[in-house]
């Protein structure tokens, strides 16, 4: 109730303020009073923010680059990763990575020749036929998978799942050890298919 009274009081004072506005408008055409300075120039610093603690950066700076920077220690083969995949990934992506609607497949190498995704809408993109960098698999799974428990896999589990996906796509052998040194060296089938945006070189449609 007290808040209601406060609201009513505020409302009444607003009405008074509106009513008293008339006298103020009478001299609106009079001279601009007081000195008007230009806006201050931008300071060297607004002195906002603080330096992050090293452990703060370490906790968040988890991205993995194509050159392997950001990959942690740890290692696994596809054989070892198979159990992790079966336990934590297969329910959404299928036992063989074939996809479970609405989740698309992550395994598949068709088309074996060419890269006809622009010509053929029926082609389905997978890690094997479309992803240009193997490091992206590790980076993405660590960020976002499993969808109901993201960020829960250990480095060894992540290397194992990454290895399993790559092996199932026929890109590596099942007994190859995947770690911070070997993962960046894997050349994905679609690696050279990507080109930078050239649309802005012309006002014509590209």
């Amino acid at each position: 109730m007290s808040r209601a009274i406060a609201v009513l009081t505020l409302g009444a004072s607003l009405v008074l303020a509106c009513n008293s506005g008339g006298s103020g408008s009478a001299d609106s055409s009079s001279a601009r009073r007081g000195s008007v300075s230009p806006a201050p120039s931008e300071p060297a610093s607004y002195a906002l923010g603080r330096p992050p603690e090293p452990q703060e950066i370490a906790a968040w700076d988890l991205d993995v680059n194509p050159d392997g920077v950001g990959l942690p220690s740890g290692r696994a083969t596809a054989i070892e990763g198979a159990a992790v995949y079966a336990a934590k990934c297969a329910i959404c992506h299928g036992a063989k990575g074939e996809g479970v609607a609405p989740n698309p497949p992550i395994v598949g190498r068709e088309p074996r020749e060419g890269f006809g995704f622009g010509r053929d809408p029926a082609l389905v993109k997978t890690v094997g036929n479309y992803w240009p960098y193997a490091t992206t698999v590790y980076d993405y799974v660590r960020r976002a998978m499993p969808q109901d428990k993201p960020g829960s896999l250990t480095p060894n589990e992540l290397y194992g799942v990454t290895a399993w996906i790559l092996a199932e796509n026929g890109i590596i052998a099942r007994d190859i050890v995947i770690d911070s040194l070997s993962l960046p060296k894997i050349k994905m089938p679609a690696r050279d298919r990507f080109v930078r945006d050239d649309r802005l070189t012309t006002p014509s449609f590209k």
Binding site: M1, R3, A4, V7, L8, E42, S45, Y46, L48, G49, R50, P51, P52, E56, I57, W60, D61, L62, D63, N65, P66, D67, P102, G114, F115, G116, F117, G118, R119, D120, P121, A122, L123, K125, V127, Y130, W131, P132, Y133, T135, T136, D139, Y140, R143, A144, Q147, P150, G151, A190, R193, F194, V195, R196, D197, D198, R199, L200, P203, S204, F205
Partner: protein, 419 residues
């Protein structure tokens, strides 16, 4: 009685009720004024026979739409999904915040502003962490920009059918007044090193969504945004802070932004390799295709509208370009044989939605209406045939070909699948 109403409107429960309940509560008559009229369903809005003879509901904490107005997005219920805005039911150019399109990759992150922080680090002289209050303490700017998912238009290109509304085709589109701090203002504080050329923007959602953005764009006009249409960002729009890259594909405008790492080469994250790349017919895929090309669509009359009578019809629609200002929109009412410059509603803003109108006399015969945008760079929105030839039938994202609508002889309007 008035007192009891005030008490009721100030309870915590009332502040937390859903929009639907709030709507009902706001349109209810005072509880004991007309109990009989409320009947057995007290949540039904009561519309008096003569509103000039009965006082209406009192003031309320937040207003709701008229119960006669039905506007809704198209949520699919998926955690990783999108919901399209009913752009064909909107007027003007500003998108109501509660109807702005959504696209989430792991649901809507719910973030406590007291625990929020933005870390700016990497190739900088002085890495810094900012609280929300600190970000808001920087000099602010307010700008109007469109925001669009680069997958917008997919339904019309990949699965065209006559029964498509503008919402289902182009509803991953909004236009808002954004307030925030220019990214360059914050980068000036940390001191960007000369070897930095990109920045990895990372969200604090369950996907840790990440995109590499060229430093040049961040220094040009990108914003750390914390308000939208006068209020703090809604959670679905990235509360408390998102990145906004004006005119660029929505996916780069990372929501729930928690980290900006200055880097020398792009990170090649999933959303800039396996997603948000555009396969072309020459067996390549275009990558980092950030800019949204010029586009326009008629929003009225379109499916499911049926024109009630012959005579003057005002064609209304939206045009936009990530390359800059829209300079003209051409409209054809004869299937593209002849064109007329539509009227652009002022002000026409850079990288913002523009409303165009064009009146024509419908004579009761079947005809096709279509719009064509031109922007300040001279770019002309392509035809469907041009688009298909250049981009290929299997391409993905950036579908900006002309959208055509056919008015049947009985007045029904349908999407034209073969213009």
């Amino acid at each position: 009685m008035a007192g009891s109403q005030d008490d009721r409107s100030l309870t915590r429960r009332e502040l937390l009720v859903s929009t639907a309940t709030a709507l009902s509560a706001a349109t209810l008559l005072p509880a004991d004024a007309d109990q009989a009229a409320l009947g057995t369903q007290p949540t039904e809005p009561v519309i008096p026979a003569d509103p000039t003879k009965v006082p209406g509901p009192p003031t309320s904490a937040a207003s709701a739409r008229s119960p006669f107005v039905q506007m809704a997005r198209t949520p699919t219920g998926a955690t990783a999904g999108s919901s399209l805005a009913p752009i064909h039911l909107m007027n003007g150019t500003v998108t109501p915040s509660d109807l702005h399109f959504e696209r989430h990759h792991a649901g809507v992150a719910m973030i406590d502003p007291a625990r929020y922080k933005l870390m700016v680090h990497g190739l900088v002289d002085k890495p810094l962490v900012f609280t929300l209050d600190e970000l808001k303490s920087f000099p602010s700017v307010t700008r109007v920009y469109f925001l669009e998912c680069s997958g917008n238009g997919r339904a019309a290109y990949s699965a065209p059918k006559p029964e498509l509304t503008p919402q289902l085709i182009d509803g991953l589109l909004g236009n808002a007044e954004w307030t925030g701090v220019p990214v360059r203002t914050v980068l000036r504080e940390v001191g960007v090193r000369s070897d930095a050329a990109w920045a990895l923007a990372e969200g604090g959602d369950a996907a840790l969504l990440s995109r590499s953005v060229p430093l040049e764009k961040l220094m040009e006009d990108s914003l750390f945004v914390y308000a939208m249409n006068g209020e703090p960002l809604r959670p679905a729009a990235g509360y408390p802070v998102r990145l906004l890259n004006p005119g660029w594909e929505g996916n780069t405008c990372v929501k729930w932004l928690r980290r900006l790492e200055l880097i020398s080469q792009p990170n090649m994250s999933r959303d800039e390799t396996s997603k948000y790349t555009d396969p072309l017919p020459n067996d390549t895929a275009r990558q980092f295709s950030f800019v949204m090309d010029a586009k326009s669509t008629i929003t009225y009359p379109t499916y499911p509208v049926q024109l009630a009578r012959r005579g003057w019809v005002e064609i209304r629609g939206l045009a936009w370009s990530g390359r800059g200002r829209i300079t003209s929109v051409d409209v054809s009412t004869d299937g593209g044989r002849t064109w007329t410059a539509a009227k652009l509603q002022e002000p026409v803003l850079d990288k913002a939605l523009v409303r165009f109108t064009h009146s024509f006399q419908w004579n009761g015969q079947r005809t096709t209406i279509v719009s064509r945008a031109v922007d300040a760079t001279g770019y002309v929105q392509p035809t469907l045939a041009e688009y298909r030839q250049v981009r290929g039938s299997g391409t993905n994202y950036h579908y900006n070909h002309l959208r055509a609508w056919t008015v049947e002889a009985d007045g029904r309007v349908v999407y034209e699948v073969a213009p």
